[in-house]
């Protein structure tokens, strides 16, 4: 593959260097120039973390071959604060609190810069539209739009420059709006995430993943890969020196598949090589013979006798069953005026943090195996890894790199074990950066659930009994399933004083992608059932949905279904606030259609559309 000579102006400096014909501009900036401010969130032009200016036009550098921009003037996010002084927009992002994990922010700042260059007077709708190619997972966008509007107004003289400064007139921090101290590093693209980090002599890791949902590994031959030029190490489960198994509650997951694979995307082997391409080619050269096994993809089916068994220790495929019993639900139903039963289901959800998993590992001068990664649970992982690699805890170190969004999805030790083994085997620093596809296929999702809820109520809306059974698809490994089932059960009946409660939550093994921690940790699934159910019951009883909740709300001093005494309960205050803010029209939740009174209210959002930039044209046309 002959190199080409790439000449361009990058951030004001002439660049003349060899480049690969297949290299993308993003790779050239990040790998060759070490300009890591712009990120790779998806590699497919969807997310905008890689947005850079090419001859003044904003483009996605993951879609640009470097050969295509020969001779161009290129500006990455580092150009915006080249002297160290943040640009006006960067200051506005800081002021408005527009950055959380920060991973989307360099691209977002670039898109905002492009938007205000295109139209310095853009209104909020046009700003939204012009930022449409950039995704943020944390902020909900409102603070980002606030920041762009703030910068616009300062730039246009509608607000003084002092509007960008921190107002610090009040004492203390609690209850005050305080600027994040890490924002300047994020808006400038200076903060190094794990995938941005380099070490001298660093090797690149790629992982061989299972194409089968359930299969026995008949043979695994890495010899061809090991002898390839540039390959420094290949590992399989045979390289694990200690007790192989990790998980938050049950250590049922090997670092790499051991004997059999249990889901599509499970790691089978890993390679460390001098560059990414060699590592990829080595992975392709590993020969695995699989014997496919019967697989199960539905939690209910997995619970039936005779279903394929994933783990020998759990012949019934039950990862965890959590029962809760309060009073006697059958008695409660017998004295109820109305009994309603429904089934609710929720689907798997991907966390979709903008930063795909990445990690860097090395064995330091004191023989300490060190893992740097955006890991949400480093202390626990340190203990597990020490056992897996058979080292004393003092010889294992975890460093938590900035987390480019986690939401619970980075609580599992999915890849850190492989990095440790490769660093130990090669005695060199090793780095693994997931692709977006790899992140989606191999890491935990929110538990899909099916909940059957039977509720008995009096005519005036008091709940006498609640019987809930939730079956969750935990996927191939335990991960956080046990905790998720606990939380789901504890919170399942909701913040309502109910004399008779029976809850059963089941986490079940299947050959789907493992389920794990995700914001709200099980409460979402059961609350979805309980709250939907209350609306249905309110409708059947002719009650206002706020009212039925107030009638049953736990009050200060209540004792929960799991015997926890609550000093104060904010539910009724929350209900009052929600009722007011939503402009709720009192009554039973029956469809009011055209008699709704809130549709034209100024604070009710209209449906989304595009074409804000035509708004003025349309007005003109209408006027003509």
């Amino acid at each position: 593959m002959p190199d080409l000579r790439f000449e361009a102006t990058v951030n004001g400096r002439k660049v003349s260097r060899p480049a690969k014909p297949h290299q993308r501009l993003l790779d050239f900036l990040r790998d060759d120039l070490n300009l890591t401010g712009n990120k790779e969130g998806c590699g497919a032009g969807e997310c905008g973390t890689c947005s850079v200016f090419v001859d003044g036009v904003l483009m996605k550098s993951c879609l640009l071959p470097v050969a295509k921009v020969q001779g161009a003037v290129i500006e990455s996010v580092e150009a915006l604060a080249k002297t160290g002084e943040l640009s006006m927009l960067q200051k506005a992002f800081h002021k408005a609190g527009a950055s959380q994990c920060g991973y989307c922010i360099p691209g977002m700042v670039m898109a905002a810069t492009a938007a205000l260059r295109a139209n310095p007077f853009a209104d909020r709708e046009e700003i939204k539209e012009r930022l449409g190619g950039n995704i943020c997972r944390c902020t909900g966008y409102q603070k980002i739009f606030d920041a762009v509007e703030l910068a616009r107004d300062v730039q246009n003289g509608r607000l003084p420059a002092s509007a960008l400064l921190e107002v610090d007139t009040e004492e203390g921090v609690i209850g005050k709006s305080v600027r994040r101290i890490d924002t300047p590093s994020k808006v400038a693209g200076r903060l190094k995430y794990a995938g941005d980090m380099l070490m001298p002599g660093m090797l690149h890791v790629q992982v061989l993943r299972s194409p089968h949902a359930h299969a026995r590994i008949v043979s695994l031959d890495t010899s061809a890969a090991e002898t390839m030029d540039g390959v420094e190490g290949v590992i399989t489960s045979a390289d694990v020196p200690g007790q192989d198994g990790f998980g938050v509650f049950v250590n049922d997951q090997p670092v790499m598949a051991r004997g059999k694979v249990r889901y599509v995307g499970e790691a089978v082997a890993a390679v460390a090589a001098v560059d990414l391409l060699t590592a990829k080619r080595a992975v392709a050269a590993i020969k695995v013979v699989y014997e496919p096994l019967a697989a199960v993809f539905d939690a209910d089916e997995a619970m039936r006798p005779g279903a394929p068994v994933l783990h020998n220790y759990a012949p019934d495929n039950v990862t965890k069953h959590i029962p809760i019993r309060v009073g006697d639900v059958e008695k409660g139903f017998a004295s109820s005026d109305l009994v309603v039963e429904e089934t609710y289901s929720t689907q798997a959800i991907e966390h979709a943090y903008l930063e795909p998993e990445a990690g860097l590992a090395y064995v330091d001068h004191d023989d300490v195996v060190t893992i740097v990664s955006p890991d949400q649970n480093i202390t626990h992982h340190r203990h597990m890894l020490a056992r897996i690699i058979a080292k004393p805890i003092s010889k294992v170190r975890f460093i938590m790199s900035p987390v480019g969004g986690g939401f619970g999805g980075k609580e599992d030790m999915i890849y850190q074990g492989m990095l440790a083994l490769l660093a130990m085997k090669t005695r060199a620093p090793v780095r693994l950066v997931f692709t977006r596809e790899e992140s989606i296929i191999s890491t935990a999702k929110r538990h899909p659930s099916r909940t059957t809820l039977r509720m008995g109520l009096t005519r005036d809306g008091r709940i006498l009994a609640s019987h809930m059974t939730m079956i969750c698809d935990g996927g191939a490994y335990g991960l956080s399933t046990e905790g998720v089932m606990r939380k789901a059960a504890i919170l399942g009946a909701g913040p309502y004083a109910i004399p008779n409660v029976r809850v059963d939550t089941y986490g079940i093994y299947t050959n789907n992608t493992p389920s794990g921690a995700f914001r709200s940790f099980g409460a979402l699934q059961t609350q979805f059932a309980t709250e939907s159910h209350l609306d249905i019951c309110a409708e059947r009883l002719g009650l206002d949905p706020f009212e039925i909740r107030r009638i049953n709300a736990m009050r200060d001093g209540a004792v929960t279904h799991t015997k926890q005494k609550l000093g104060s309960v904010s539910l009724t205050r929350t209900l009052d606030a929600a009722e007011k803010a939503s402009g709720w029209e009192r009554g039973a939740p029956v469809s009011r259609g055209s008699t709704r009174k809130d549709l034209d209210r100024a604070d009710i959002r209209p449906p989304v559309s595009l074409g804000a930039r035509f708004a003025s044209v349309d007005k003109q046309e209408a006027a003509e």
């Binding site: 593959m1 002959p2 080409l4 014909p21 297949h22 993308r24 590699g43 497919a44 032009g45 969807e46 905008g48 947005s51 036009v57 904003l58 483009m59 996605k60 993951c62 879609l63 640009l64 071959p65 050969a67 295509k68 020969q70 898109a111 492009a114 938007a115 295109a118 539209e129 012009r130 449409g132 190619g133 391409l277 990829k280 692709t435 596809e437 790899e438 296929i441 989304v608 595009l610 074409g611 930039r613 035509f614 349309d618 046309e621 209408a622 003509e624």
Partner: protein, 302 residues
């Protein structure tokens, strides 16, 4: 991951044909590259090694642009953003700026080309229905010479065109329709950067009284293997008064054409709604009188 040994950027058609001849059977032509890179990823084509990528976006013939009151000639490498930035183009192709604003996002529009959208031949291509409504003709060239054919015949199926080995799409010629009002309706899973589930281009020219349709041009994508011109509805609407009854009748006509692999029922609803919304928006922009459109219809669909 997309790998290549050579990334060639020919400066002329002759150079391009020479590169194609030299690399026969081992090249792929690219322009904006916005479809090629996402294609060469896991879950789609995976890691792809193509010995030569031939980038035609710098060839002058593919960048030439000519607009007058009758005809428009678009070089195949014209970036989609151009339809938003160039006032003369926007006047001649009234639905195109509205198509462009829904086409990917600001950044990809700056890179993606009109020719790429056509040659890619997605059943849901956004630009193709617009151009169909303008009776577009494609100009193809190879080392052997030039030929032209209607765009309608050029796109033959999902990702399939009449392009022959060694041939390039050089330009698109179509009617300039400055007297028409244009609209483009699109729905997908996301506001920006989304593939159409259905998209529809509508162009309407009104009679002098502003109360009847002198001519309507309609084309749709996302409902079957390839984008379609809606000739039956067009013929029906010629000379029709702008009444709710007429528009609703016209809106029913393409519903039976839905032949997508998935979500047919949903798409039938969308087609009906888009026909009404497209015609109303286009008629309004063509200067329909304040009272010419049935108010309840406009309130419901525009």
């Amino acid at each position: 991951m997309l790998l290549c040994d050579d990334y060639l950027t020919p400066a002329s058609l002759a150079e391009a044909f020479a590169a194609m001849a030299q690399n026969r059977g081992r090249y792929r032509v690219v322009a904006g590259c916005t479809d090629t890179f996402p294609w060469a990823r896991e879950g789609r084509a995976g890691d792809v090694e193509i010995p030569a990528l031939i980038d035609v976006s710098k060839i002058p013939e593919l960048n030439a642009l000519r607009v007058d009151d009758k005809r428009v000639r678009l070089g195949a490498a014209t970036p989609i953003q151009r339809f938003l930035d160039d006032a003369a183009l926007a006047r001649a192709l009234p639905a195109m700026p509205r198509c462009a604003v829904w086409f990917a996002d600001d950044q990809i529009r700056a890179q993606a080309t009109i020719g790429g959208n056509i040659v890619n031949a997605s059943p849901a291509a956004d630009a193709t229905p617009c151009l169909l409504a303008h009776e577009a003709v494609v100009e193809l060239a190879s080392a052997r010479g030039k030929r032209t054919m209607p765009l309608q015949d050029f796109v033959t199926g999902p990702n399939e065109t009449a392009l022959l080995d060694g041939e390039l799409l050089v330009a698109i010629e179509c009617d300039a329709l400055p007297a028409y009002g244009g609209s483009f309706e699109k729905v997908g899973h996301r506001r920006s950067l989304v593939i159409s589930l259905v998209c529809l281009a509508a162009l309407v020219k009104l009679g002098r009284d502003g109360r009847h349709i002198e001519d309507a041009r309609l084309a749709i994508a996302g409902i079957g293997p390839r984008p379609l011109r809606l000739t039956e509805a067009e013929t029906f609407l010629k000379g029709a008064a702008l009444t709710a009854a007429k528009l609703e009748q016209a809106a029913e006509m393409p519903v039976a054409l839905v032949a997508s692999r998935t979500r047919q029922e949903y798409r039938r609803d969308v087609v009906r709604g888009f026909m009404l919304r497209g015609l109303i928006n286009a008629a309004r922009r063509a200067g329909a009188g304040e009272d010419a459109l049935a108010p309840e219809l406009e309130a419901a669909y525009a």
